[in-house]
C-alpha cells in the first residue's frame, strides 16, 4: 500500500460509500458519500477525489478529497447506500429513512423522500410509539429494505409513500444488517448470532431459513454476499471473527476465521475481484484479505507492521463438496489451497474504523478519529 490519504473532517464518520459508476463505463470511482454519527448535528456529505487542476505537480492536493456538498441529517447516520447515481438512502437513529437527491449542476443535496418512524417500539401499556434506530438499509432499484433495533423489516419503493411490506417482530433481537441474496430474498444478521433468509414472496412472518453459529450466540454486525456466487456469504461478528457461509447447505458457517480483536463493523467482497475481501473493526484496523490462489509467491501468511497475531484458519465443513468444478476460493477446505494473505491497510492503529467501501482500485474508510482515508491503488 503506497499511497493512503487521510483527511480530518471534524465529525465522526459512521459510513462511507462510493457512488456507483454507470454500468459499462470505463470511469473509475471518484465520488463518495459519508455519514456522521454522535455529533450534535449530523450530516450526509459528498466528496470528490477528482483532480482539481494540476496541483499534484508540487505535491499539494493530489489524492486529497474535497467536499462537494453536504446536508443536515436528523440523528446518527446508521447506514448509507447509493440508490442510483443521484440518490442516496440514509438510515437514521431516529428510526426514519431518507432518500437524498444530489443535484450535480449546482452541487447541492436535498431531501427527496422521507419515511419517518419507519422503525418504532410499541410500549406495552400505552398506544404511543417510541422511535427505534434503523440499523441497516439495502437498495436494489426500485426497492429499499430496512431493518432496525425493533426487529422489524420494511420494504419500501422509492415512489411509494407507505411501506410496501412490513414484517413486524421479524426478529426477537436487534437486526444489525441486511443484504439482498437473490432478488426477492433478503438476508439479515442479528445480535444473537443468527443469519436469516427471508423471501418476500411468502406471506408469513417467518424466515425461510435460519443459520447460526453454534452455541455462542456471538452477535453478528455485518454481512456481504459474494458478487458472483450468490450462495457464498461473509459475516463479521462481535468477537472480530469472519465467518464464511454457504447458504445452500447446512446451518453452520463453512469456515470461521479469527480476525480482529473487537467488533467487525463491515465486511465487503471486492465487487469485481471477489477473491479479495475487506474488513474493518472497532479495534482500529482495516484488513485486506487476499484468497486468490494465483499469486506466485506468498512468503508469509500475515503481514502487519510489527504486530504478531495468532491467525487461525480452520474449516469446519465436510469434504463432500470439494470435487465441485467451480468452487469459490472462500469455500475451499484444503488448508494448502486455502491460504489467505492478509494485509493491514492503515499505517497506525487509530480509533474504530466504522465503515469501508471498495470500488475498482479505490478504497475509502471512515473512523471515529474523525478521519477519512482514501487510497486509489489497492492492487499496486
Amino acid at each position: 500500500m503506497e499511497e493512503i490519504y487521510a483527511k480530518f473532517v471534524s465529525q465522526k464518520i459512521s459510513k462511507t460509500r462510493w457512488r456507483p459508476v454507470p454500468a459499462g463505463s470505463l470511469q473509475t470511482a471518484e465520488t463518495f458519500a459519508t455519514g456522521s454519527w454522535d455529533n450534535e448535528e449530523n450530516r450526509v456529505s459528498l466528496w470528490s477525489i477528482g483532480d482539481f487542476g494540476n496541483l499534484d505537480s508540487d505535491g499539494g492536493f493530489e489524492g486529497d478529497h474535497q467536499l462537494l456538498c453536504d446536508i443536515k441529517h436528523h440523528g446518527d447516520v446508521m447506514d448509507l447506500q447509493f440508490f442510483d447515481q443521484e440518490r442516496i438512502v440514509a438510515a437514521s437513529s431516529t428510526g426514519s429513512v431518507t432518500l437524498f437527491l444530489h443535484h450535480p449542476n449546482n452541487q447541492t443535496l436535498s431531501v427527496g423522500q422521507q419515511w419517518t418512524a419507519a422503525h418504532y417500539h410499541t410500549s406495552p401499556g400505552s398506544p404511543s410509539c417510541r422511535s427505534a434506530p434503523c440499523t441497516g438499509v439495502v437498495c436494489s432499484n426500485p426497492e429499499i429494505v430496512t431493518v432496525g433495533e425493533d426487529g422489524r423489516i420494511n420494504l419500501f419503493r422509492a415512489d411509494h409513500k407507505e411501506a410496501v411490506r412490513t414484517i413486524d417482530n421479524a426478529d426477537s433481537s436487534t437486526l444489525h444488517a441486511v443484504t439482498f441474496l437473490r432478488t426477492p430474498e433478503i438476508l439479515t444478521v442479528n445480535s444473537i448470532g443468527q443469519l436469516k433468509i427471508w423471501d418476500f414472496r411468502q406471506q408469513g412472518n417467518e424466515p425461510s431459513q435460519i443459520l447460526s453459529l453454534t452455541g455462542d450466540r456471538v452477535p453478528l454486525h455485518c454481512v456481504d454476499r459474494h458478487p458472483n456466487q450468490q450462495h457464498v456469504v461473509a459475516t463479521g461478528g462481535q468477537d472480530g471473527m469472519l465467518s464464511i457461509w454457504d447458504v445452500r447447505q447446512g446451518t453452520m458457517p463453512v469456515s470461521l476465521l479469527k480476525a480482529h480483536e473487537a467488533e467487525m463493523w463491515e465486511v465487503h467482497f471486492h465487487p469485481s475481484n471477489p477473491d479479495h475481501l475487506f474488513t474493518c473493526s472497532e479495534d482500529g484496523s482495516l484488513w485486506h484479505w487476499d484468497a486468490s490462489t494465483d499469486a506466485p509467491e506468498k512468503s508469509s501468511l500475515f503481514h502487519e507492521g510489527g504486530r504478531s497475531s495468532i491467525f487461525l484458519f480452520h474449516s469446519i465443513s465436510n469434504q463432500a463438496n470439494v470435487h465441485q468444478s467451480v468452487i469459490s476460493s472462500w469455500l475451499s477446505t484444503d488448508p494448502a489451497k486455502g491460504r489467505i494473505e492478509i494485509t493491514s491497510l492503515l499505517p497506525n492503529r487509530t480509533l474504530s474504523v466504522n465503515s469501508l467501501d471498495v470500488l475498482g482500485p479505490c478504497l475509502v474508510c471512515g473512523t471515529d478519529a474523525e478521519a477519512i482515508y482514501v487510497t486509489r491503488q489497492l492492487f499496486s
Binding site: F8, W37, D38, D150, S173, I192, R217, E282, E370
Partner: protein
C-alpha cells in the same frame, strides 16, 4: 424591560487540605445594565470565551440539557448571596497552582450570567460532567406551592471552550494519535535514538498546530462576517503563539542544543515565526562583507571546534571594529550603522527597532552579532536585558513575553503555569507537559494533591473531552495513561455517556470490557435491558441480561415470557428461546423457560414419552416455580388422555403427589367475594378433572405394566 441587575459569578480557586482540589465559589451580585435580552447574552458569551478557558457555552430551555443519562440533578433553593462550596474530584478544579497556596496566580475569570432576574435573588448551580450548570429557580420562600414558573433557561458554563471549535477538533484528533504513539515509545530506548524520537514527536505536534493554524487562517480570510473573521484571527494568533512557545521549548528542553548550534536553532526559530526576518537577514548579511560572513556561516561545520570558531569570530569582530574606528564607512552613515549593528552595538540595533518585530527577534539578532557562541546557561541574562531594552520601560511585558522569558530561564514549571493561565485550552499544556515528562524533565516535581503535574493536566484535558458530546472517545486513551487517577476518572465519566443507540452502547461496552470495568459493564447492560423491557422487546432484554450475567434480571424477563405465554397460549421470540444453549443456566427461571419450551417442542413433534418425563422432572427437580405447577399439570392432561399409556405408574404417583402438595399447601382465604368464589370454582373443577385423569391413567398403567410382567 425593567432595569434589572446582572448576577456575577466569581470563580475562586483554592484547594482544601485533604489533598483533593476544591473549587470555591462565591456568588455575588453587582448592579449592571439591563441584561435580559438574548443579544446581550451573546455579547457576553463572546467576551467570556475570549477571556479564558471558562465561558458560557450554550443556552437552552430547561430540560434540553438532560442528554446525560445520569445527569446531575440541580439543587434548588440555593440563595444568591450564599457562599457555596463544592467538593469534588479532579474535574472540579480550575487552575493548577504551583506556587504557595495562599496566593492567587492570576485574576479569577469573571463569567457573567446574563438575564438573571435579581429581584428574586435565586440562583443555583451544580456540576455537570466537566462543566457547570447554573439555573434560576422558581423557589419561593413565602409561597410553598410552586405556582411561579421558573426561568426557562439553564446556563451551561463550560471549562474548556476550545473543545467546541470545529477546526480545533482536527488538532485534538490528530494529536491524539501522536500522543498514543508517544506513550508507546520504548522505555529502553536511551541516548541519541530516544532523543531523536522525542524531537520527531515534538515536530509532529508542531506540524499539526501549524496545519490547524493555516486552516484557521484560511477560514478567517474567507469569513464574511467581520466579527467572525476577527474571532478566527484571534484563534490564529493563539495557535501561532502556541507554536512559538512549543518550538522554543523544543530547542531548549528537548533538543538541548549546546553553545554554537543553539544560536542556529534560535535563528531558525525567529525566522520561522517572524515572516519579515528572512528578507531582513538577507539584507543585513548579504550587504557588506560577504567573504567574512561566508566564513561565519560555515559555523556549524563539524570540523571546527567551538574554540576555533570563537577565535575566528573574534578576529572578524576585531577587523570590523578596526574598520569602524578607522572611519572606513564615515562617508556613508548607513554603512556605518550597519557596521555597528554587525558589531552588536545595542544602540544601533535599537535605532532599527521598527524593523525588529519583537524583543526576542532583537535578542537573537544581538546574540548573532555579539555572542554567537552563547551558552544555554547565559541565555536568560541576555533575554532579560533584551526585553528590558526593547520595551524601554514604555510598556509592561505581556503573558507571551513572560512565558518565553520563563523558557529562557529554563524554568519549565513556570512556563507551564503561565501557559495554563494565559491559554484558552488545556490541550497545549497537557501535551507539552506530557512530552517534557517523557524527556524526564519533570520527575522531581510532585504536587501536594492528586498525582503529578503531567497526570493532573492530562486529566483536566480528558475531562474536557468527555464533556463534549462527540470527542469523549479520545478522552479514554488519555485516562488510560494516567496511572493513578485515570481509571477512577474514566469510571466516573463513562457512566455519563448517553446510550442513544445500541451501536453506541456497544462501543462504550467495548471500552469497559477491555479495561475489566465489570461494574460499568453490568450497569450498561442493565440499562439496555431495562430499555428493552420498556420497549416490549423481551428477546433483546434477555440477551442483554445474559451478556451482563445478571441472573436476577434474567429471572424477571423469563417471568415476563411465561406470563405472556399464560395469557396468549403461545411463545414469542422462539428464535431466541430455542437457541439459549449454555446461557440457559444463568438463572433457574431461565432454565425453566428453556426447558418448558423444549417440552412444547417435544410435544409438537409427538415425542410424548420424552415430553412427559421432561414435564415431570421440571416439577420434581423444583426448577418450575410453584405458581406454574398448575399450568404444568394442566399440560399433562392431554398426555394422560392419550390412547396409549404414557406416564408409568410410578410417574403417575409422582404427578399425584405434586398435585396434592399444591392443593394442600393452599392458604385459606378469608372473606371470599364473588369473583374469588368463581375462580375457586374453576380451580376445583380443574383439580377434580386432574384427579380423575390421574386415577384412570394409574389404572391403565398398572394393568399395562402388570400384563407386560406377566407375559
Amino acid at each position: 424591560m425593567r432595569g434589572c441587575s446582572r448576577q456575577r459569578l466569581i470563580w475562586q480557586k483554592g484547594y482544601c487540605e485533604d489533598r483533593l482540589p476544591l473549587a470555591q465559589f462565591s456568588l455575588t451580585r453587582c448592579r449592571g445594565q439591563d441584561g435580559g435580552t438574548r443579544v446581550e447574552c451573546r455579547r457576553v458569551v463572546a467576551m467570556a470565551e475570549r477571556r479564558g478557558p471558562c465561558g458560557i457555552g450554550g443556552f437552552g430551555p430547561a430540560g434540553s440539557t438532560g442528554g446525560a443519562r445520569a445527569g446531575s440533578s440541580l439543587a434548588t433553593g440555593a440563595e444568591l448571596e450564599a457562599r457555596a462550596r463544592s467538593f469534588g474530584g479532579p474535574a472540579n478544579s480550575r487552575w493548577l497552582r504551583l506556587g504557595a497556596m495562599e496566593e492567587l496566580d492570576g485574576e479569577p475569570t469573571v463569567t457573567l450570567i446574563p438575564g438573571v432576574n435579581s429581584s428574586k435573588k435565586q440562583m443555583c448551580f451544580d456540576w455537570g460532567p466537566g462543566e457547570m450548570l447554573v439555573c434560576e429557580t422558581s423557589f419561593n420562600k413565602k409561597e410553598k406551592s410552586e405556582t411561579v414558573p421558573g426561568c426557562p433557561f439553564i446556563y451551561i458554563i463550560r471549562k474548556d471552550v476550545d473543545v467546541y471549535s470545529q477546526i480545533l477538533r482536527k488538532l485534538f484528533n490528530e494529536s491524539h494519535g501522536i500522543f498514543v504513539g508517544l506513550q508507546r515509545i520504548e522505555e529502553e530506548l536511551t541516548g541519541k535514538s530516544r532523543k531523536a524520537q522525542l524531537v520527531r514527536v515534538s515536530k509532529n505536534y508542531r506540524s499539526v498546530i501549524r496545519a490547524c493554524m493555516e486552516e484557521m487562517h484560511q477560514v478567517a480570510i474567507a469569513a464574511k462576517d467581520p466579527a467572525c473573521s476577527c474571532q478566527f484571527s484571534s484563534q490564529v494568533s493563539i495557535l501561532s503563539a502556541m507554536e512559538l512557545i512549543w518550538n522554543l521549548c523544543e530547542i531548549l528542553f528537548i533538543e538541548v542544543a549546546p553553545a554554537g548550534p543553539l544560536l542556529l536553532h534560535l535563528l531558525d526559530w525567529v525566522r520561522l515565526h517572524v515572516c519579515e526576518v528572512d528578507n531582513l537577514l538577507a539584507d543585513v548579511l548579504g550587504s557588506e562583507n560577504p567573504r567574512k560572513h561566508e566564513s561565519f556561516w560555515k559555523l556549524p561545520g563539524t570540523t571546527q571546534t567551538l574554540t576555533e570558531l570563537e577565535l575566528k569570530w573574534q578576529h572578524w569582530h576585531e577587523e570590523c571594529e578596526r574598520h569602524l574606528q578607522d572611519g572606513t564607512f564615515a562617508s556613508s552613515p548607513h554603512l556605518e550603522s550597519l557596521c555597528k549593528i554587525m558589531l552588536g552595538d545595542e544602540a544601533a540595533l535599537l535605532e532599527q527597532k521598527e524593523l525588529l518585530n519583537n524583543w526576542y527577534h532583537f535578542l537573537v539578532t544581538r546574540l548573532l552579532y555579539s555572542h554567537p557562541t552563547v551558552k544555554p546557561i547565559d541565555l536568560h541574562f541576555y533575554a532579560q536585558s533584551s526585553l528590558d531594552l526593547f520595551l524601554g520601560g514604555e510598556s509592561s511585558p505581556e503573558p507571551l513575553d513572560n512565558i518565553l522569558m520563563a523558557a529562557f530561564e529554563f524554568d519549565i514549571h513556570q512556563v507551564i503555569k503561565e501557559c495554563s493561565i494565559a491559554l484558552s485550552n488545556w490541550w497545549f499544556v497537557a501535551h507539552l507537559t506530557d512530552l517534557l515528562d517523557h524527556c524526564k524533565l519533570l520527575q522531581s516535581h510532585n504536587l501536594y494533591f492528586g498525582s503529578n503535574m503531567r497526570e493532573f493536566l492530562l486529566l483536566e484535558y480528558a475531562s474536557g473531552l468527555f464533556a463534549h458530546h462527540s470527542l469523549w472517545q479520545l478522552g479514554v486513551d488519555y485516562f488510560d495513561y494516567c496511572p493513578e487517577l485515570g481509571r477512577v476518572s474514566l469510571e466516573l465519566h463513562i457512566e455519563r455517556i448517553p446510550l442513544s443507540t445500541e451501536q453506541k452502547a456497544l462501543k462504550v461496552l467495548r471500552i469497559c470490557e477491555q479495561r475489566q470495568m465489570t461494574e460499568q459493564v453490568r450497569s450498561i447492560c442493565k440499562i439496555l435491558a431495562m430499555k428493552a423491557v420498556r420497549n416490549n422487546r423481551l428477546g433483546s432484554a434477555l440477551s442483554w441480561s445474559i451478556r451482563a450475567k445478571d441472573a436476577a434480571f434474567a429471572t424477571l424477563v423469563s417471568d415476563r415470557f411465561l406470563r405472556d405465554y399464560c395469557e396468549r397460549g403461545c411463545f414469542s421470540d422462539l428464535d431466541l428461546i430455542d437457541n439459549l444453549g449454555p446461557a440457559m443456566m444463568l438463572s433457574d427461571r431461565l432454565t425453566f423457560l428453556g426447558k418448558y419450551r423444549e417440552f412444547h417442542r417435544l410435544y409438537g413433534e409427538k415425542r410424548f414419552v420424552d415430553a412427559a418425563s421432561l414435564l415431570l422432572s421440571l416439577m420434581t427437580s423444583q426448577i418450575a416455580p410453584r405458581s406454574f405447577w398448575m399450568t404444568l399439570l394442566t399440560d399433562a392432561l392431554p398426555l394422560l388422555e392419550q390412547k396409549q399409556v404414557i406416564f408409568s405408574a410410578e410417574q403417575t404417583y409422582e404427578l399425584m403427589r405434586c398435585l396434592e402438595d399444591l392443593t394442600s399447601g393452599r392458604p385459606v382465604h378469608g372473606e371470599p367475594d364473588a369473583q374469588r368464589l368463581q375462580d375457586d370454582d374453576i380451580e376445583t373443577t380443574k383439580v377434580e378433572m386432574l384427579r380423575l385423569a390421574l386415577a384412570r391413567n394409574l389404572a391403565r398403567a398398572i394393568i399395562k405394566e402388570g400384563s407386560l410382567e406377566g407375559s
